[in-house]
Structures are given as structure tokens and as C-alpha cells.
Symmetry: C2
Subunit: 377 residues, 2 copies
């Protein structure tokens, strides 16, 4: 590492600031718990994919300088060191960084791995890096908006031609049926019956009429029960057609502005299996480790999160329930305008809008599209 420069000890020169209070309360706080790290580590479809991506491509890691963005427990930094990296900077915003240092030392990698505590936005590094590795994906890929920080790290620290692991990401959607929709509608109706009883009590006991709030309450409850997406472990048999890709990312080239802009896509989702109506949409993602154009991976690896009979990753899939359901027949398609945007109140959360028309030769083809909106909290 280069000496001199700003002076001060190595640690203080690199360490950055803690996350801002509100962002810590909303987002970062859970990552400081070992329990949460364990949950992610023991998702072996996830951790194993990263292990394979590094170990199968150890030629790309040997004698290189690596940056691990959001190192958590330090595991990806350790994989990189095991693959022969010359130096690894492992950056972590929360106090989990202290546990990462312990793990690195205990596994005898302190000569290679330097844990830096702070946000990527505020830390400094004494050199540019050859590889950036990061596990940044949230539910529905983009929830948590951690990719912003990875791209910032790329723009700040990655040498020209350097590689991002993973290198690519794709988002998919498919029509599905779920028995959860009926449950949600039932819960919503019960909430409204409960409100009706409550109104009578308030009028009877206290002579206060809360009926003027009924419409607001209805909106609040409908939004909660019907317009909030859910984590699901979706079985492939619930899908009524194949997943249709509605977005692709090349992480080497996309800009932060492009990422932050609203995502718009026009897709057509085929209906293959229609023993019932469509009562939800299923969303998921995959990422690939292909290296960069200048430094391609010897042996690309894919980490999928599609519905899988052998079980889900910890990401599951996102289930977007709708009511009333959409009648379709096999051979129809759903012509869909997709819009994904960040929530105004919290940029780490998302909103999904779909405008859906049934197209095809069956009696279910619609001329007027239906609008749907969900928030992904």
C-alpha cells in the first residue's frame, strides 16, 4: 500500500463515516446482527454461487487487487483471498466490520484482507482495484438500492477494464396463481367489518362519529392488504407461463443516473397453463458472473432465483396479488407495460405499476387495459 499522502494511521485514512441516522434506522441496522449474516451465509444457493464464481475463475483473481462492497461477515473477501488475490479491501458500513476483522484474522488472511469500516460513499482507498465483488441484490433485485453504492465504487475505484462480480443482472415476471390472494381479500374484508363495529362503539360510548375517516381507512387497509407485494416461495407449478425478461443490466456500463431513473418496459407474457385465472404476478431476478470484456471469467456462473422445485434462495420471489383476477385461456398473452420506480418516502423501497391487456384469440381478450400498483416495502 502506498505510504505518505494524508498521513495518520492506515485505518483512519481509509475508514469512512457511519451511515446517516435515518438511513441507519430504515436500512443498515439489521446488517449489524450476526443472526442476519448467518441467514444469508447459510443460503447455500447464494453463497455457493459466489464461491464457485470466485474459485472457478481463480486465474482472474490471482495476484489481483479486489474490493468487496458491503463485506458483512467478510466471506467474499475471504473467498477472494483463498483464490490468490494479492490484496482485498473489505468495506462494511456497520459494526459487523469488527466481526469481519475477527474472521479474517482467525482464518489467517490479515496479510491480504484489510477491513474498512464506513460507507463506500465516504471511504478512501490508496489504490484502484482490478475486481469489485459484492452481494448487493435485494428482493426483486433492486429493493435496498444497494447497487447505487456498487456503481459508485466502480466509478470511484475500478481500473479501466476491471471486472465486476457479478457482471450482469436480469429481472423476470410471469403470471401465476396463488391461494394467498383469497386470504388477503378475506383479511381486508375483515378489517372493514371491524371498522364498522368500531364506528358503532365510538358513537355509542363517546358520541363521536368517525365515519368521515372510513374512506381513508378503507384506502389504507386496501393498500396494505391488496397493494403490498409479498415474499413468496413460489412452486414452478404455480406459474401459468414462462418468466419473461423485462430488464437487463450490464453492470460495467450502466450509469448511476440510468439506474435511478424510472424503469419502463413493454413485454408480452404468454399463458401456457390456464386451469384458472391469473390472480398474481411473480417477479424474480438472476445474476451472472461473466467478468468484464477485457478480463472475462474463464467459467461463467449464474445465480438464479426463479421458482425452483428444490427450494428457494433467501430472496424467494416477489408475489404481486391482484383482485379481481384476470381470466385467460392457454395461448393468450398478457401485453404489459411495466414500470418500476423508487418510493418517494424511502428511496430504498420500490413501487411497481403494471398496465395489462389480454391479447389472443380467446374470448378473454380485452381492449381496455387494467392498471395495477403495488409497493415493495
Amino acid at each position: 500500500m502506498a505510504e505518505g499522502g494524508r498521513g495518520g494511521n492506515k485505518l483512519s485514512r481509509l475508514d469512512g463515516k457511519a451511515p446517516e441516522g435515518s438511513d441507519f434506522a430504515n436500512y443498515f441496522c439489521t446488517y449489524a446482527y450476526l443472526y442476519h449474516q448467518k441467514d444469508m451465509l447459510e443460503d447455500h444457493k447464494r453463497t455457493g454461487a459466489y464461491y464457485n464464481a470466485v474459485m472457478q475463475n481463480r486465474r482472474q483473481f490471482k495476484d489481483k487487487v479486489v474490493l468487496d462492497v458491503g463485506t458483512g461477515s467478510g466471506i467474499l473477501a475471504i473467498f477472494s483471498a483463498m483464490a490468490g488475490a494479492k490484496k482485498v479491501y473489505a468495506v462494511e458500513a456497520t459494526d459487523m466490520a469488527k466481526h469481519a476483522r475477527t474472521l479474517v484474522a482467525h482464518n489467517k488472511f490479515e496479510g491480504v484482507i484489510e477491513v474498512v469500516q464506513g460507507t463506500i460513499e465516504t471511504i478512501e482507498l490508496p489504490e484502484k482495484v482490478d475486481i469489485i465483488i459484492s452481494e448487493w441484490m435485494g428482493y426483486f433485485l433492486l429493493r435496498e438500492s444497494m447497487l447505487d453504492s456498487v456503481l459508485l465504487a466502480r466509478d470511484k475505484f475500478l481500473k479501466p477494464g476491471g471486472a465486476l462480480y457479478p457482471s450482469h443482472a436480469r429481472m423476470f415476471m410471469a403470471p401465476m396463481r396463488t391461494n394467498a390472494s383469497a386470504g388477503r381479500i378475506n383479511d381486508f374484508q375483515n378489517a372493514m367489518y371491524g371498522w364498522s363495529e368500531f364506528l358503532k362503539e365510538m358513537k355509542g360510548f363517546y358520541q363521536v362519529d368517525l365515519d368521515c375517516l372510513s374512506e381513508s381507512y378503507r384506502k389504507e387497509q386496501k393498500d396494505y392488504y391488496m397493494s403490498t407485494s409479498a415474499w413468496g416461495n413460489v412452486h414452478p407449478s404455480q406459474l401459468m407461463g414462462p418468466g419473461t425478461c423485462f430488464k437487463k443490466y450490464d453492470l460495467h456500463t450502466i450509469t448511476i443516473e440510468e439506474l435511478k431513473a424510472e424503469l419502463d418496459a413493454d413485454i408480452s407474457m404468454p399463458i401456457v397453463d390456464a386451469c384458472g385465472p391469473v390472480d398474481a404476478f411473480c417477479g424474480w431476478f438472476d445474476v451472472e458472473f461473466k467478468g468484464s470484456e477485457e478480463n472475462p471469467a474463464d467459467d461463467p456462473v449464474k445465480l438464479p432465483t426463479a421458482p425452483d422445485a428444490t427450494g428457494p434462495t433467501h430472496w424467494g420471489q416477489q408475489v404481486f396479488m391482484l383482485h379481481p383476477s384476470i381470466d385467460v385461456a392457454a395461448g393468450d398473452s398478457l401485453a404489459t407495460k411495466v414500470k418500476v420506480a423508487r418510493q418517494k418516502v424511502n428511496h430504498r423501497l420500490l413501487e411497481l405499476d403494471l398496465e395489462v391487456k389480454v391479447t389472443g384469440n380467446s374470448i378473454h381478450a380485452t381492449s381496455e387495459p387494467r392498471q395495477f400498483n403495488w409497493h415493495i416495502d
Copy 2:
């Protein structure tokens, strides 16, 4: 209301700022939901006590100026107006204030009640008030630290001799037995078995040894399972002795500094019913509406939250589980040093420390005290 002064419309002169981002994320955000307001309103032991406190003492409210701190839906302001108040300022920090305005108008009190949106700390009022009414109590009385704001309102806005509704508060503790302690210990042990299996997987699949984090994981899990208090609906039959009061507040005289300081108390909790060991402590509070010395309430009202066979208020009681249990016999007492303090990370959350000795003539009397610590999150 006095005209002139700073000018601008009435609303902009009074309205204050929204809560700071981190405090909003940690505390205020749930109060913006009608669902949460409904939960509190339909706790009729709570809402009815306030109704009685106002209506039974309408002579104290007639033609007076009232301030409702944290009005939420506006209900206490409406009770005050129904009792004949001349003017009510209903202050609410969140967007629930908009619903409060709707409710006030719909119930035809807009001539009396003015809803002001902002924190008590930042709003201004054009006059001092005769009465401050507020429902500020959190779990274990002090959780949420809303009393700070009520005392600030008192110091800022209450006329000399003015009354606070409620006027007094007390905190109680009793030894109890609960079947939940064994469940918690079981959950903790399962978490440690799970960690042990996880270590083997990580070593086997990835050749990474996480045993250096075992002690930290153990501390984290023990803290979570064994040192976090729980909301409980405690049946009186679970108490092993009467509640002992360990703190009294006269809200007219206590200063904010006194409130923020650590609470220390020395108590002796008698054991009356000892068909088993003590495996938890039960904490609760009550408040009273007695008016001020200069303006006493005609008909004082008490709002208790002690274990009650007819059911709990929404506050329930706080249950502090301990392990191993404390052996006692009927006739013994628990000589206890009580300490309640605010958590450093979030001043709206609490910590409880107890130092307990068994005193009495039975074989269980101890010479060395045992230390316990819980956080109330």
C-alpha cells in the same frame, strides 16, 4: 385568538416542523396510520378512562383553553370540546393531523378545536393554556419518552396553576411465574445448536472457520432471547406477590432533567404465593387524573394497567424473564435495587437493571445479590 403579531395566516404561524428523519423512522412513523389509531381508540379501558376524566370533571374544562399534546385522531381534543372548553389546540407531529382536522370538522367542533401540525418542540401558540391533556404513556410507562414533550409543553404553554390530565403516574413491579421463560431458553438453545450445524457447513463447503464468532453470536442470541423484555397479558394468578411501587411522578412538579436522569429505587417485593420459583418480573404503571393543586378535579379518575382478570389494556404488562429462576418461599421478600435508564443508541427505548437478594427466614435467603439486565425495545 390574538391577531397581529408575526402575521401570515393562522395556520402557518402555529404549525411547526415535522419530526427529524431518524426519529420519524424509529418512532413517529406508526402513528400516521389509522389502523394504529384505531387500536388505541378501541382500548376502551384507556379511551373510557380519558372520557370519564374529562366528562366527570367538565366543571374544570368549561370555558377553559386546552392543549392536547399528540392529538393523533383528535379524540381527546373532541372530549375537551364536548366538556365545554372555549378553545382547544390539538397538536400532532404526523400527517394524522389531517385526519384529525377532518374528524373535528365532521363532528362540528371546528369553531373550538384548532389542529396544529408539527412537533411540540417547534410549534408556537398565541396564548397560554389552562389545561394540558395528553395520552403519552408507553410500554412500562416511559418507553417512547413522550413525557419529555408533555413537560416541555407544560413549561412552554401552561399557565401558573394550570392542570395536567393525567396529573400523576406510578410504576410497579412484582415477581411472577410464566411458562414463557422455558420457551425462551429452548429457543436460545436451538439457536446455539443451529449455529453449531452452521459452523460445520461453512467449514465443510467453503473451508472457512467461523468459530471465532461463536462467543459474539452466543452473546447476541442470549441478549435477544433472554435479555429482551416482552409484552404480556399477565393473569393476576401469575403474580407471586402484590405489585410494589418503585416510582411516583407528580407531572406538575417534575423537571425534564429529573425525568431524563437515571431512575434509581430500592424496594422490597413480598412473596405471598410460592408454588414455584420466580422466573420473571412483571412491570406496569397507572396514571391518575386529579387536576392541579390550584384547580383540582371534582372527581378523580384512575387508569390502571395492572394484571386484570377482565383483560389487559393495549399496554399489557412488561415481562422480564430470567434464568435460572429464583427459589423463594412464602414470607420471603426480594430486596431489589431498580435502575431504569434510556438506551444510548435510541433515547426512546429503555434498559432495566435489577440487583436482587432474597431476604427472609426461609432456606432461600441469599447473601450475594444477583444482577439482571434487560432492554425494553
